[in-house]
């Protein structure tokens, strides 16, 4: 078939092989296609375990992974080996999900940041342990249903990008697959910086967030438009908001996701107040140094 040939040629050139094992509508392969486009072929990808990494099996670049609790550590070794061999031309990307980054390997990410390891550490955040069947992580947002928080999570989401920024690393950024140009620009920028770069990406998960897969991109776009997922970068300690959309009500972001459907009016109002307050603080600090 002519179309098949067309696509085969495309896959041949692409750094991501077609046909991933991810769920329909998963943001994982989308994120990796954009990211690898930005990074180019001289890249080693490290990571294993979390379900967004299903896509990693399709990455045609050198990949290496150990297991779920091994975040930013095997890549530390790869970085050291490259230094020992004098290979300064290769970018090392280290990737993990939200549970690995924020919970079990939080200390490891922190330590790699403190050592300022020369790599791009990526948190692929789908806000719960999805590969094991939707269990709460430290990065699950307030109110979200998971199988271990059947009444909704009681505590707020851990602010990992801000915590990593306080390590005085050269670059921290949040990205979303709904904004490919912004995403690619940030990845490219990170590639050009020496030291520890932290990229936090929202990863729409139709299965765990319980929405129609067709709305994958729409939902995370709404996340940005409602300020549930502000996009920013922190370069040299200075905060810069990537976009300042006119805020839509948070309900527009919550409504399509059935993980939030049990929320009461009061709870939604509470979330709205929290989001508003954070937006306010972000706007106040835009362009300012936020590292203590």
């Amino acid at each position: 078939m002519e179309t098949d040939k067309l696509f085969d040629e495309y896959y041949e050139k692409s750094l991501l092989q077609g046909g991933t094992t991810c769920c329909p509508g998963c943001g994982g392969p989308l994120f990796w296609r954009m990211t690898l486009d930005a990074l180019g072929p001289n890249t080693i990808v490290y990571g294993d375990g979390p379900c967004a990494m299903c896509a990693i099996r399709n990455i045609k670049l050198p990949t290496f992974g150990l297991h779920f609790s091994f975040v930013a550590d095997g890549s530390t070794g790869i970085v050291a080996a490259l230094a020992a061999k004098g290979r300064r031309d290769i970018t090392v990307v280290s990737s993990a999900g939200d549970g690995a980054t924020g919970d079990i390997s939080f200390g490891k990410v922190s330590a790699a940041a403190e050592r300022n390891e020369n790599m791009i550490q990526i948190c692929v955040d789908n806000e719960a342990y999805m590969n094991t069947g939707i269990q709460k992580s430290g990065l699950t947002p307030f109110g979200a249903w998971t199988t271990t928080t059947p009444l909704g999570k009681e505590n707020p989401k851990k602010a990992v990008p801000m915590i990593i920024a306080q390590h005085k690393v050269p670059y921290v950024a949040t990205v979303s697959v709904a904004y490919p140009r912004d995403l690619k620009a940030k990845i490219k920028k990170a590639k050009g910086i020496e030291g520890f770069k932290y990229i936090h990406t929202v990863m729409p998960c139709p299965t765990g967030w319980r929405f129609d897969p067709a709305k994958s991109v729409e939902v995370v776009r709404l996340g940005v438009e409602t300020w549930a997922w502000p996009l920013y970068e922190i370069e040299g300690g200075v905060l810069k908001l990537s976009m300042k959309p006119k805020p839509k009500p948070i309900e527009e972001y919550l409504r399509p996701q059935r993980r939030f459907r049990h929320l009461t009016k009061e709870q939604i109002e509470f979330i709205q107040r929290e989001v508003d307050a954070r937006r306010q603080r972000l706007l106040e600090n835009d362009g300012k140094r936020i590292i203590l």
Binding site: F64, L66, S69, G77, I78, A83, A84, K108
Partner: protein
């Protein structure tokens, strides 16, 4: 140039890593391993050693970084002890499964809470099932020599497994004896640069072992590599002896065994003490010999079966415990399995001594040796497992 001077086990290990030209060293400090990595840090700071020393935040990360670096083509060295090894446990399964020839010194120290800072072997023996080659060293010199050999063994394409030179904390790690440091050029000739035919993470030259579709087969590959390692260990030891004038008889050494019918079997630093006791006893006309178990993984099954043809009683000294086991320490149980298929089995005595890090004294060894001889005479095993330290045999620190 080769030189000899007083050197502690930990410093000897640092020289071993330096002479082996280890390129990446991720390590986290723990007593009694700390002097090892501070010696390495000093060698690097002085410009005498060229390596990336990663000051990681824990042992789990140390081993993970070791895996990453090894897969990316660097020769890797690290070391840990006791709680550190236990903390690393999850990561320790990675190098054998991924076939990465990392070398890690296990500086034996008792595990908490019932143990001190000094050695017993439970920390390393805890890792007996992970697929690491384990070679137990008696003194500084053997530590240095074994590290160099370890890279040759682990990086042999017949093997591709990680190797752990194990040595007792304090009694080897901080004990200084005259130690010969071989010439770098000689070591370079003995140990060529690291090259892994299964692995390359370099873009453009990417290859790694395929994801195992048949898991049992992949595991059996590791088992076969372990079995092949026996021959490789012996071959490398012979070559080392030929070049450097010091050898260790591969997996096990028979000491003063001419004409004896009973032997003590020891592992680690207590072997040195046992040599003196055995000499004393032979001078008194008592026919007892000594077998030093150097290789615990792979276990020298065939070699032990050979010994069983010559010796009627084996007194196995276990500086470890396995609570609620079939009987005795880990080494005794391994030995029992190795000897079980024989028609004519020797009698097996098992002694627990030096647990939690206490000293193994001459008197204790003498006691055990006497028991072995007594059993040879009576032909009867009075006690299968004996906790020697519970007896009053004089002062023990």
């Amino acid at each position: 140039m080769e030189f000899t001077r007083m050197m502690e086990g930990n410093e000897a290990a640092a020289w071993g890593a330096k002479l082996s030209r280890a390129e990446v060293i991720p390590a986290y400090p723990i007593t009694p391993q700390t002097e090892l990595i501070s010696h390495i840090a000093t060698l690097i700071a002085r410009g005498e050693m060229k390596a990336q020393y990663i000051k990681v935040e824990g042992e789990h990360t140390a081993m993970a970084a070791a895996c990453g670096a090894s897969a990316a083509g660097a020769r890797v060295f690290t070391a840990s002890a006791s709680q550190g090894i236990a903390f690393m446990e999850e990561a320790l399964w990675m190098p054998p499964g991924r076939r990465l020839p990392i070398v890690m010194c296990m500086v034996n120290r008792a595990l908490a809470p019932i143990g001190g800072l000094r050695p017993d072997h439970n920390d390393a023996l805890l890792q007996r099932d992970t697929g690491w080659i384990q070679l137990y060293c008696e003194n500084s010199q053997e530590v240095l020599d074994t590290i160099i050999m370890a890279y040759r063994i682990g990086e042999d394409r017949q093997v591709y497994l990680p190797v752990a030179p194990c040595y007792d904390g304090y009694f080897v790690s901080a004990t200084a004896i005259p130690t010969t440091v071989p010439d770098q050029g000689e070591v370079d000739e003995f140990l060529p640069p690291y090259k892994h035919e299964m692995y390359s993470l370099m873009p453009g030259d990417y290859r790694r072992p395929p994801f195992p579709l048949n898991i049992a087969k992949a595991r059996y590959e590791v088992q076969k590599a372990m079995e092949r390692a026996k021959k490789v260990i012996e071959k490398v030891d012979r070559e080392y002896a030929k070049r450097f004038g010091r050898g260790y008889d591969g997996l096990l050494e028979e000491y003063a065994c001419d004409g004896v019918e009973a032997v003590l079997v020891t592992m680690g630093s207590m072997t040195g003490t046992a040599r003196d006791v055995i000499d004393e006893m032979q001078a008194e006309g008592k026919p007892i010999g000594l077998v030093k178990l150097r290789g615990f993984r792979p276990f020298p099954t065939e070699e032990l079966r050979e010994l069983a043809k010559k010796y009627h009683v084996l007194g196995i000294v276990d500086r470890n415990t396995s609570y609620g086991s079939a009987g005795g320490g880990v080494v005794a149980m391994e030995a029992a399995r190795a000897l079980y298929p024989l028609d004519d089995r020797p009698l097996l005595l098992n002694f627990h001594v030096g647990l939690g890090g206490s000293d193994v004294t001459m008197r204790q060894i003498r006691y055990m040796a006497d028991k072995v001889l007594e059993t040879l005479e009576t032909g009867k095993v009075e006690k299968e497992v004996e906790w020697v330290e519970l007896l009053d045999l004089g002062e023990v620190m």
